[in-house]
Subunit: 307 residues, 2 copies
């Protein structure tokens, strides 16, 4: 297999694009695709300040690398979850994020959940809903809260996350197999800050396959945490990813087609504006001041209460 | 496993309903479910004349049996496709349909495509689009045309088809993996005759699993053609059915949930009325007089032209 651009030996063949590339041209191609995605969905400009949520994994660190190479003003945010799971998952992730930032002279915000709020994610889960709360739900709520808080406090214009195509397609499949109107109407590569107190969110990797991001990190020499979060084993997201991988194996491009035809149908007005959950009223949490969908204290503040 | 109603030995366990039943109670339960579905979606009344499209397979013959037992005025329509495929597929199917009707004293309309239009389905496919037309597309167009024609000529109120849950979920999955707005907006258990010249269509088996319909035919002693149409091998519908069967094996009820949450989301207004293809203009074919979406001769009339 030869590189389509220079005829040298290809390192990757992207069947869905009918495109094989050598290392040099692949490392150019990925940032070009990300730049096109940023422009296509009007995500942000080079004059705006970005906050990249970095987990220490391949997607978020590669995204930060790409945004930095493309000349964006991108700071990082690492959230320490206090998850050990035998592999020192959180400690390791933080080391990779810190080393990455230090090597490039980039600014990394760090929020440790146990240090700031007194409890690790697993401990918060144990003390929520009488121990019936799932760590992944608790973690999602905590991360969304902290990402929005730091973005507002640091006066960032946009919160940027490393969700890749596989992530977005898996979420879409879940929302489709269960037809959840609010989520279907809301899913988009960029979410405007259309409610008071919420910052704009963007996903510049949403059209790039997970395996391409892994190849990018590897070929770029980015060191990242290989382990998945120990709590992700058996998660529905991984289950939906497996289903999509089988579809993709049978029909290269199936995953991309699923996501892009969704975006296209949506843009052409498939969904009713009345089904938009943004029409819900928004309230400010009396404890933390952040936006919440129901009146009274927000879920995060209730979760982290002592006891 | 014991019958939930009488404690005798169960013949079927429906995991998605957490319901096991003996032969007697299962043979009662299926028509009850069909009756509930007819009422829930306002399909038709006992005062209306129904035309049941029968292929000679388990679903359509069982449906006809059920409607007859429930006291509906249901005639049959068998369409001879002229497909042999080594198993005398069409000839066999017709024999089963005729024997079924004769045993019960029911009225069966028969339209032979080769006798009426001069060519079998495979021959029409060969002479359409310079041989590039797929027999399954040609067959779909021909069946829709003839079903509507006979329903109008016989002054039937409703055309009833034997699509089961597996059929409907597979169609939905295909329309969802490719996000085809027109089809998504249109799919429903009953389609009103909301365009001039089109008859109402209803699918009373849409909430019943394929395996339950197979069990019904078997236990009721209905003789039907076992072979699938020789052209269905490798079809996308069978591919989507396989995917859904894997989902169902992992999570009993997944298939039903996928279809019912879709209906529910749609009923609650997920889709925009503007995406409705019924808003398209409708024309009358100058040759056959039946409705068609584009001006000029309809696809069916063009297909069956000599040459």
């Amino acid at each position: 297999m030869k590189c389509r651009k220079c005829n040298k030996k290809a390192v990757i063949n992207m069947r869905q694009h009918k495109l094989a590339l050598c290392q040099t041209h692949f490392l150019d191609w990925i940032p070009e695709q990300v730049q096109r995605c940023i422009e296509k969905y009007h995500m942000f400009s080079k004059q705006e300040r970005l906050l990249v949520a970095v987990s220490g994994g391949k997607d978020s660190l590669s995204l930060w690398d790409i945004l930095w190479r493309l000349g964006y003003q991108a700071d990082g945010l690492y959230i320490g979850l206090g998850i050990d799971g035998g592999s020192h998952y959180s400690a390791q992730s933080q080391q990779y994020a810190e080393a990455f930032a230090a090597e490039r002279g980039l600014n990394l915000n760090i929020v440790s959940i146990p240090e700031t709020y007194g409890k690790t994610i697993p401990k918060i889960a144990e003390s929520t809903l009488r121990g019936r709360a799932k760590p992944c739900s608790v973690c999602g709520i905590a991360k969304r809260h902290i990402m929005n808080r730091i973005a507002r406090e640091g006066e960032y214009h946009v919160l940027v996350t490393g969700h890749n195509l596989d992530d977005e397609a898996a979420v879409l499949l879940g929302n489709t197999l269960n037809w959840i109107p609010g989520y279907l109407v809301r899913q988009w590569p960029v979410l405007e800050a259309n409610r008071p107190g919420l910052v704009r969110k963007a996903k510049p990797l949403c059209r790039i396959y997970e395996r391409e991001m892994a190849a990018y990190a590897l070929l770029r020499g980015i060191e990242y945490v290989y382990d998945e979060c120990p709590y992700s084993v058996g998660s529905t997201t991984l289950y939906y990813k497996e289903i999509l991988n089988r579809l993709e194996a049978d029909r290269p491009g199936a995953k991309l087609n699923f996501y892009l035809t969704f975006l296209d149908a949506k843009k052409k007005g498939l969904f009713s504006p009345q089904a938009d959950p943004d029409l819900e009223q928004i309230h400010a949490c009396p404890t933390c001041g952040q936006p919440t969908s129901a009146p009274g204290e927000c879920v995060f503040c209730r979760m982290i209460k002592p006891g």
